[in-house]
Symmetry: C3
Subunit: 353 residues, 3 copies
């Protein structure tokens, strides 16, 4: 974010209006952008949420810093004191986010089906294809080149970026956001084997997506086999995530990039799932579970807590080869210990006698 003639300037007092913060400094200070604390510049606001960056506070060039009360004393510029500086930053940064200007209404190149109910305040981008019986609420945005199937319903203020696909009958709540390339409602992966040949099992369910859900770029969410796949309110999904059929993800759970969730998995509320973790099918994860990145989850988890799997952490390839060899010789080691134990027992008894 470079400052430029076009960037508006905001009074600090206006940026924090309505937020649960205390200002230490000049409410009339003009702010034109944000920058990271280690590279901040005059006229910008920055934030301190990570103790590793505390060393930059004393010399920051920023005009204001969002921080906790503990750090406020060390702040020589305007301080916005918050119990949750990152949340406060999120609210203030929104002033500097550029909104793509999309013209309200249906672009003349869009193809619209019959019996649709499209709110007059909605945006349907260029080259979109909207099926029959589609309902788009107020202020919905359908990005350019998106394809929306028959009977889809999208709630107020939900925004789809360019080139998304929403299959037939999927329902999406309010204020949700779907990034480019995401596919929602493709058929679940169900095949019945008969004499060595796989036969498609029709996927009769759909997908229900709640309010305030975020779905990342090129993420895929399959429709249910019989019942629906369900993504709860406030769920946040990163890019390139696979959500199998009949998965249920509880409210306010957040899942990082590259995670794969097999069919019929139930994940609770307020979970945090690290990147590239995998879930085997038909398992249940309770509320408030944190799974660290790269974890292979193969069984249900019944208790809140932090869980991980496997051997992680890169070592030199030489060490790795040795580790693998040692690992695959574990049985040999166990046998040697057994042999030693027996020999010891014998010796000990002989010594006793």
């Amino acid at each position: 974010m470079k400052s430029s003639l076009k960037t508006p300037l905001y009074k600090l007092a206006d940026l924090i209006s309505g937020l649960d913060v205390t200002l230490q400094g000049d409410p009339n200070c003009l702010i034109g952008g944000v920058s990271p604390i280690q590279q901040s510049q005059p006229g910008h606001i920055t934030f301190l949420t990570n103790s590793l960056y505390r060393k930059y506070l004393a010399t920051t060039q920023a005009s204001a810093v969002i921080l906790t009360e503990d750090d406020a004393a060390s702040c020589t510029v305007n301080a916005v004191i918050s119990h949750n500086p990152y949340f406060t930053y999120a609210k203030i940064a929104a002033f500097f986010a550029e909104q793509a200007e999309m013209t309200v209404g249906i672009h003349p190149t869009a193809v619209i089906g019959i019996h649709c109910q499209i709110d007059a305040s909605a945006v349907v981008g260029a080259n979109c294809v909207i099926g029959n019986n589609v309902k788009l609420g107020a202020h919905v945005v359908i990005g350019h080149g998106s394809v929306i199937g028959d009977g889809v319903e999208i709630g107020e203020a939900t925004q789809l970026d360019a080139r998304t696909t929403i299959y037939h009958k999927v329902k999406i709540g309010q204020r949700s956001r779907i990034a480019s390339g995401a596919v929602v409602g493709s058929d679940g992966f169900g095949f019945a084997n008969q004499k060595g040949v796989w036969h498609k099992v029709p996927q009769l369910g759909s997908v229900e997506i709640g309010d305030d859900v975020d779905i990342g770029a090129n993420t895929t969410i399959d429709r249910g086999a019989v019942e629906n796949t369900i993504i709860g309110n406030g769920v946040k999904l990163d890019n390139l995530i696979q959500v199998g059929h009949n998965v249920c993800i509880g409210e306010n759970t957040i899942i990082a990039g590259g995670v794969a969730i097999a069919g019929s998995v139930v994940i609770g509320k307020n979970c945090m799932i690290g990147g590239t973790s995998s879930f085997a099918g038909h398992i249940t994860i309770s509320d408030h579970v944190m799974i660290t990145g790269m974890t292979a989850v193969t069984k249900s988890i019944r208790e809140p807590g932090v869980y991980s799997s496997g051997i992680v952490g890169a070592v030199t390839n030489k060490e790795f080869r040795k580790n693998n060899a040692r690992f695959h010789r574990l049985e040999n080691l166990i046998q040697r210990v057994k042999t030693a134990e027996l020999a010891l027992k014998e010796l000990t008894e002989r010594n006793k006698s």
Copy 2:
């Protein structure tokens, strides 16, 4: 699937017509939908394929249940007795699958190249772009917003969902289905290093996809470097799978979501590959191999069987940290066992003397 005025009703006798099943009950019973056995409702048919759900059989509200002969005696409603209830379910459920209504012919917004042979019964959706010299067989469906390259040939009754990309010269058989966002025929990942800089190696091959193949959402299949990448008849690929250049996948092999297959891998027929498994390049997997999910396959597998790798299964992060520490101290443990063995030997000899 809610019952509604629009849902057609079928006589049980009609639903099972032509299937290798025995009916125990009323052939005139009317069925209007399917539901899972634990939540079944009157007027619906359900199925019992998993012994975990047997407990629901006695109290099911369904009007009919598909099950094996062993379970038929416990069934108090109409019973469709099958050697393979899941396959029977797949056939019956097809009656209740909604077909998207796409108008036969080429949508006026589609852009069509020269010298194409598009069967009169084919569907080309809105905003598609079809290259030159493309052949589309009878009843082919090209979903909205798809892009089909020059010289592509697609066999009878194959269906591409919305927003797929088929690069030039790719050939696809009959009755195959490709989900939204899939990309078939992008360049393989080939670069030659000259003095630290990577130079593109032209990818001169193509992709051949057989009959009855399923390809999931956002899956990518690269074209071959010199010869073709080949996907055999009856292969089923889930979402977000990467298939590298010159891979060959044998007939009726099924691969779950998130699997990555490096270049020149050969996978046999009738294999089952679990989700998020990875294959190193240039290896060969024989027929009838099952790879469990999350497996790292680094060498060829010559014998049928079930294979797995690594340490899977999430444990508490505390336990995980201890496991990792123990693992990385294995060498130390081995040395300690060696030392103990030597001491034992010495003691034993001394005791003998």
Copy 3:
């Protein structure tokens, strides 16, 4: 590549013109295509870069072989002698790569914003949507169905395949190539938790992509949170890769398919990253690091070298289950060794006395 009437024939002398090679044989030999050495045919040129294939050299049907000086003596046909046969092959194969014929200029179905600067030699495909203030350099190609956001700048001779998305303000250098389905500049995954609810953190940065970069099919690159995500010159990214916000990838680094890179990771120059490896956030990888496939990188790597992690290599599921059991009983083994050591010590002392 079948020979056909349409395939042009080239004199060997013309194919090697300008390359740092020596010809052993007939410069007027006509070449009409390439084939792999084990299946080569008359009229084709092939190459020998892998010692596993040396056995085919004596009997090759090819009209010419690209190889090193060491292999030239064994070559009975025309030999193109090179220090780097694979690089030489890449250059020669380019003669036989088919170019998709795209008509220069803006397709009438494309939708173009205001204030764009589109070079007269550029190609904008059918059904593309180009935002406002977009700059496209000479010979740029925008594939059919692509969506380019406001303020995007794309340098000379860069080519985007069909159905790519470039979000607003992204900058792409010269001679880069982006495959179908790739998404560049979607919002980074940033959310601040306030009382259990996740609030979006605006992503104010963008993405800068250098010259000669390749980006694979359905790969996703997020825009930065405050500053930009940066992909250096000459970087090669395969398919289905996730690049988080604020990642920096150094020049000439090559990354295979399915890799996931969490936010704020810095990867050095000239690195090679194997497929499906994962990088935890906020770590730094130095120049000239090779990471083997399927590696979980959780800490910074400061020294050049080859690195790996975990237990790889598929074994039978039975062996795998035993390995997992042994692994999870390591603590037990350690305790047994401890006990044996104590008993030994006691015995030894008793024997001394």
